[in-house]
Amino acid sequence: VFVFFATLYAGPEELPAGEEQVQEWVRAARVGNARAARQLYAAHVARVFRAVRPLCHSDADAEDVTQDAFIDALSNLARYAPRDGVRFVGWLLALAMNRARKRRAHAAKVEPTEAAKLAALDERATDSMEASQLTKRALLKVLAELPERDRQVLALRYGAELTAEEVEHVTGMSAANVRKICERQRKVLLERLGGAA
């Protein structure tokens, strides 16, 4: 009875369309609704994975980071407070980026650099690979050559599809700086991808 009445409570926050549903799932997941937790996961997993993948050494690493970020988020939903202009995914990605950074710092001590790994993989690339796989490989290679800060901004902006203000919330950089980085690296990325294709 307590859980039922607790789920009826609606917060005072006003958010853009689409985010309202997410906030409902958040409220339900906070009081132990497993279905809402699953819906939150399903709605955000691809974005989180795309954002952390350029910061990780492999798909397996990105999977670990993504799942750890989701477990962190679902376990600490009580700490989440909606902010104006920042969607739930912004908070989730802040956790994921933190996880990715820690893992990367730990892995840097024992593993070769990402550029070296990708170069080795590139030699083994065959013509039988699908177009999406080739795009993925080319994109990761180009991103690996960028400074980490720029790579993080691009991953959040285009991988997680965040706005410049949301990227500001996640990274701490100003929105103007985020736009500047995107503007500068956009053409570089497209040229390199066009050349690779």
Partner: protein, 134 residues
């Protein structure tokens, strides 16, 4: 659509190549949901997180639930059972015949300081009343 927006769209499309496969999504989901549901958390933390999530609404519900439990179940008897049983009142009799300076020993004094009551004194034997014959 301006060139910048077109470029943004092209880059977003390119980034979709980084999306996880269906197998990876299912694999992660199993681990996430299992990890979330099987995490060990104390009952106190569960309640604390409920109160932190919505302090006023959940606090009111918790208070209402506590009152209902207190008045509708034998739970209200528990505090009464836990209360220490009161000892028999000890009255120090002051008899005029025994009025003499009484020196408490150190043991008696310590007993008094603990209990706050005067130490028990031996009562004098009651005087034998002889029947009065007319």
């Amino acid at each position: 659509m301006s060139t910048a927006e077109e470029d943004d769209t092209r880059l977003r499309e390119a980034f979709t190549a980084l999306s996880p496969t269906a197998d990876a999504v299912a694999r992660m989901q199993v681990r996430v949901i299992e990890g979330h549901e099987k995490r060990t958390r104390s009952l106190w933390l569960e309640w604390w997180s409920l109160l932190r999530a919505r302090p006023i609404a959940n606090g009111a519900l918790v208070a209402a639930a506590a009152l209902i439990l207190y008045f509708t179940t034998p739970l209200g008897l528990v505090p009464g059972l836990l209360r220490p049983t009161s000892t028999e009142p000890q009255h120090a009799s002051i008899d005029a015949s025994e009025a003499r300076p009484h020196h408490f020993s150190s043991v008696e004094l310590s007993r008094r300081s603990r209990s706050g009551a005067l130490p028990h004194r031996k009562q004098s034997a009651r005087p034998i009343r002889r029947p009065v014959h007319p």
